[in-house]
Assembly symmetry: C2
Homo-oligomer: 113 residues x 2
DNA sequence: ACCATTTATCGTATATTTGCGATATATAAT
DNA sequence: ATTATATATCGCAAATATACGATAAATGGT
């Protein structure tokens, strides 16, 4: 059981779900907020700002980076991260899909809800 | 290990993460798309439209309902679901938080990324 | 060269999510 | 009342995600 059915869905559904999954944790939301506030690269400050161990924060950063929401680069002894706003906005705009579908809907009946 | 640190975060971070989690699965994205297209209550048609067993779809519907993204009501022999657009839009608007933080940021340095 | 600092990765324990068959429940039709 | 249909819930197996100590790797300072 619990065989992975992910690939039985449409590509854009998977993409949007993966984006949602990337931000589906308060720590990752908090990281994005910190990065947005600083607008540039801080490093161990992210660890300081979160109630989690360094290893855990590093793991969350990796996840955000792997989906492209943040960029990272090594600056000497430290690592710098920042939000890739282009990618971020691209994802957020995806939510417009639902409103579009809603407007094009042929059946407008509102029978029960 | 893996003790739940969720409550160590801010309320709005938890709320946004929970919303993201609710849509962090292609099946639930697909369900929302179907509901948006029909704009009203369909029932077993959701099961028909997905590559998953009825029990599994019912579980996904329950998750979307529990967070308030969809509403459901029983219509005789069938169940009807539809998107709660008020709640949906409320959540989507939350993403504006990041852009706001970014604009208010005192440190605008873009040293590395 | 040695040490302190910073960050990434590994290994592992635990928690949560996902998927589905089986079954319960509720209604409609006969 | 019996049966068929539609949906929800239960119980469990498998898959993923989360958290963190330990440790590795890389750099800068002495």
């Amino acid at each position: 059981m619990a065989t992975n059915r992910k690939m039985d869905f449409l590509a854009d559904e998977i993409v949007l779900a993966d984006f949602a999954k990337a931000i589906a944790h308060p720590a990752r939301i908090a990281i994005l907020k910190i990065l947005a506030q600083h607008k540039s690269c801080i490093c161990g400050e992210i660890v300081e700002g979160l109630p989690l161990a360094q290893a855990t924060v590093s793991q969350h950063l990796k996840e955000l980076k792997s989906i492209g929401l943040i960029k990272g680069s090594i600056e000497g002894k430290t690592s710098c991260y920042c939000i890739d706003w282009e990618v971020f906005n691209q994802f957020v705009n995806q939510f417009g899909v639902f409103a579009e579908l809603s407007q094009n809907a042929s059946c407008q009946a509102q029978s029960c809800c």
